[in-house]
């Protein structure tokens, strides 16, 4: 197993950087510019450099907000700085690293002291000092294991951070789309209500049969129901976003833009990711890197266990005693423990290592396939977004104009026109939903490819 990016940076500075970044939960916050990272986290320049290189997620400067509305980038920043989710990620990472550090500590020292006094006479003193030799002898191995364990923990933490970012972006997009949907369907309902009221006017004038009037009232009821449901959905998704950001849903910063921007364009070559794209994904996906690091840690551990499980655990030391008669005794001591379970344990550890390696290999296959799948899914979503967002809505807008012209020349009645208008808003609402699908597919694809969101 080779990790070129990682292997080259097995230096204390890089380690420091990784640990710091991981502990801040910012290692994967790739869309935040390195300079900003450095300022906010007060990291040394090397750490920023390492963060840029590490994990492959290329940091890009976010676009500044065009207006006072909450952009996805701002939402991500809010989540990283103020949300309990980021805090729990940091805490979990720190706990894990502390556990690893504990396991990789140098061998200890056994010391015992006893003063035994009979009812009368001089007390007996016993002093023993011993060194558990195995703990010292296995230290280099345990440290190598800890090295990989820390790497795995940092990569997992970074991956979790990236996932948090993705969840925030998804929640943001969902809330924007839901808000727009609600607004459009509210207008559709308003149009349907106007149409129903117009029908009442026609009926009052004696010009509309009850059947037609009823149809109009039903249409308004259906549209109102849809608008109410969309309104609740908007409130729910807004609340979900606020939860992720760790702010109340009434936070004044939660002013969402009116609509989702167009999803990014796709190169035609992206339809079928080539070997380079797959290789990049395989070397950039943090969960895959974590699985590999974990496998390495297990491997180091297994190698060490295979040797040390066969020999007894030996502690060597000195003991010193003062008998009750004043005699002083001094001499070396050896304490050995041997268990027949040792070799079985070693086999178990080896199997664990094998399992971790297999898990990493399985994940690698899944990553390659996921990249292909997500690329395809995004292509389809993008096509549909183009079809709905550009084509159909333009056509529908034209049909409203046409209906308006027809009505102007008394070729068609106002009900047709109002219905066209309502249907157009409903179609725009559907188009926004499809745009959301496209954005979700985009996030999934980018993350599958190990690219920064």
């Amino acid at each position: 197993m080779k990790f070129p990016l990682y292997a080259k940076r097995r230096t204390p500075v890089a380690w420091l950087a990784l640990t710091l970044l991981g502990s801040l939960g910012l290692a994967g916050c790739a869309s935040v510019a390195p300079r900003e990272l450095a300022v906010r986290a007060q990291l040394p320049a090397q750490a920023v450099w390492a963060a840029s290189a590490w994990g492959g997620a290329t940091p890009t400067a976010p676009e500044g907000p065009a207006d006072d509305t909450l952009t996805a980038d701002t939402a991500v920043r809010m989540a990283f700085t103020s949300s309990p989710h980021a805090r729990s990620l940091r805490a979990a990472f720190l706990a894990e690293v502390s556990a690893i550090d504990a396991a990789a500590a140098p061998g200890g020292l056994h010391f015992s002291w006893a003063r035994l006094r009979p009812a009368d006479g001089l007390a007996k003193l016993a002093l023993a000092l011993s060194v558990p030799l195995e703990e010292w002898l296995t230290l280099p191995g345990r440290q190598r294991q800890a090295y990989w364990s820390r790497a795995a923990a940092a990569q997992r933490a970074a991956f979790a951070t990236l996932q948090l970012e993705r969840h925030v972006r998804e929640a943001w997009a969902t809330a924007v789309a839901a808000q727009r949907r609600a607004a459009l369907l509210a207008r559709a309902a308003e149009t349907a209500e106007l149409s129903a009221e117009l029908a009442t006017r026609y009926r009052d004038a004696g010009n509309l049969p009850p059947h037609d009037w009823n149809e109009q009232q039903q249409g308004a009821a259906v549209a109102l129901t849809a608008a109410a449901e969309a309104g609740v959905a908007a409130a729910e998704s807004r609340t979900a976003l606020a939860n992720l950001l760790g702010v109340p849903s009434t936070d004044p910063r939660l002013v969402l833009p009116q609509a989702l921007p167009s999803p990014p364009a796709m190169e035609s070559a992206d339809n079928a990711p080539d070997a380079a794209a797959l290789t990049a994904a395989l070397s950039h996906r943090l969960d895959l890197l974590a699985a590999r690091s974990e496998a390495m840690a297990q491997q180091v551990h297994a190698r060490s266990r295979s040797v040390w499980s066969r020999v007894p655990a030996v502690a060597a030391g000195v003991e010193r005693e003062r008998e009750t008669d004043g005699t002083r005794l001094t001499g070396p001591s050896i304490d050995a423990t041997w268990s027949p379970a040792g070799s079985a344990e070693a086999r178990g550890v080896a199997a664990q290592a094998e399992l971790a390696d297999a898990n990493a290999a399985t994940l690698a296959v899944e990553v390659a396939n996921e990249v292909r799948l997500r690329a395809l899914a995004y292509r389809r979503a993008l096509d549909l977004d183009g079809l709905l967002g550009t084509h159909l809505t333009q056509l529908q807008a034209a049909s409203v104009t046409a209906a308006q012209q027809q009505q102007a020349f008394m070729l068609a009645g106002p009900f047709d026109l109002l219905e066209k208008r309502r249907v157009m808003d409903e179609l725009f609402a559907n188009a926004e939903q499809q745009r959301l699908v496209a954005w979700l597919a985009w996030y999934a694809w980018q993350q599958a490819s190990g690219v920064a969101l």
């Binding site: 006017r201 010009n207 012209q405 027809q406 020349f409 008394m410 070729l411 106002p414 109002l418 208008r421």
Partner: protein, 439 residues
Amino acid sequence: MKLSRRQLLQGGGAALAGVVATQASVAAAPSPHPLENFPDPLAPAARKAGQAPVTTLNGRSLPARWRDGAREFHLVAEEIEHDFAPGQAGITRIKAWGYNGTTPGPTLEAVEGERVRIYLTNRLPEHTSIHWHGLLLPAGMDGVSGLTQPPIPPGETWVYEFELRNHGTFFYHPHADELLQVATGMMGLFIVHPRGGEDRVDRDFAMLLHNWSVHPGTYRPDPSVMTDFNLWTFNSTVFPAIEPMLVKRGERVRIRIGNLSMHDHPMHLHGFRFYVTGGDGGRWPRHTWHPEVTALVAVGQTRDLEFVADVNGDWAFHCHKAHHTMNAMGHDIPNPLGVKQQDLAERIREVLPGYMAMGEHGMAEHQVHTDMGHMEGPENTMPMMMGEGPFGKLEMGGMFTVVKVRDDLPKDGSDPGWYQHPKGTQVRRVSQDPSFRLK
């Protein structure tokens, strides 16, 4: 016993008297109407020799040449660009099929007893033929594709040749894929003057009635439409682009009407009583003539109306089916009359900028809006009501024009303008006169 029409009228009144005595007394009273002594509409024409040339409104007669003992015409069937209202703001331009560049095709004029030789060149994308509607001729010249002749393929020229055995107002049209070819405008008048020259007139106007379905925003007539047409035309033209009929007072006038549309049209003339003097069966015997102001011209018929234009004025002449004096309009829209919606319209404009509530007080406001361009209509579509007169909007379209009768007409044949009413001969407002009171 011979009764004057006056006596007949009075007799009718007397018969009613038994039922409603007061009405009978009104009918029996001397008529105060100054036009009751209306001159005999059969007064002869001023013209004493020859025939007045036929005036095909918005059209023309086809020049002929005399060769090998026959009057020769050459018709070319082809696709053409056609404008239903040339010179008007509202336009409907279509790709039509016609003859020699126009729909209707040029009017053919000949004299009874002559031999005619008519070449037909087919420049259409499909085969065609010509049927000479109402003419008495050998079966092989009747022009029914498949029955009396093979279809004339595109690119070929065929010749019809026959002797004119009857006179009257006739027309020609394809009898091959007839539904489509007539719907797209293929038709023309064929007028055969009597050899004897009896029943001369001073003005001889001719028109073909037709209906079209040009869906708003489209550019070709839809031949599949059976009844719900949206353009009603005299010689493939709608009011106000239809030329007026210019007549000098006292002249004897004939209006020849052929109907190639899919509806019957009650053609109504204001100001005069006319006689229907003939049809596509030829001239009617005099004893069958009777005065009318409206003559029904059924599908596939021609009718000749004759009258003496002895009263000056601008006199309307139109189909009496009100929807036939409209241009494109919806025929199944909810009725807005009396619907109070002005306040609602303001709210509707919030979701539909530019929305206008129309029709609460009637449809006439429509022309005001369309004339002023307040509302944009579908492309290539004329508003339903058009036309501006000396006293306001005419609110007409389709099958409507004006007979202008004057003591004198411009020598160059141009339009004399609107009629100037002599003092005291026009309706006037009284409701604002201080002394006015209704008892």
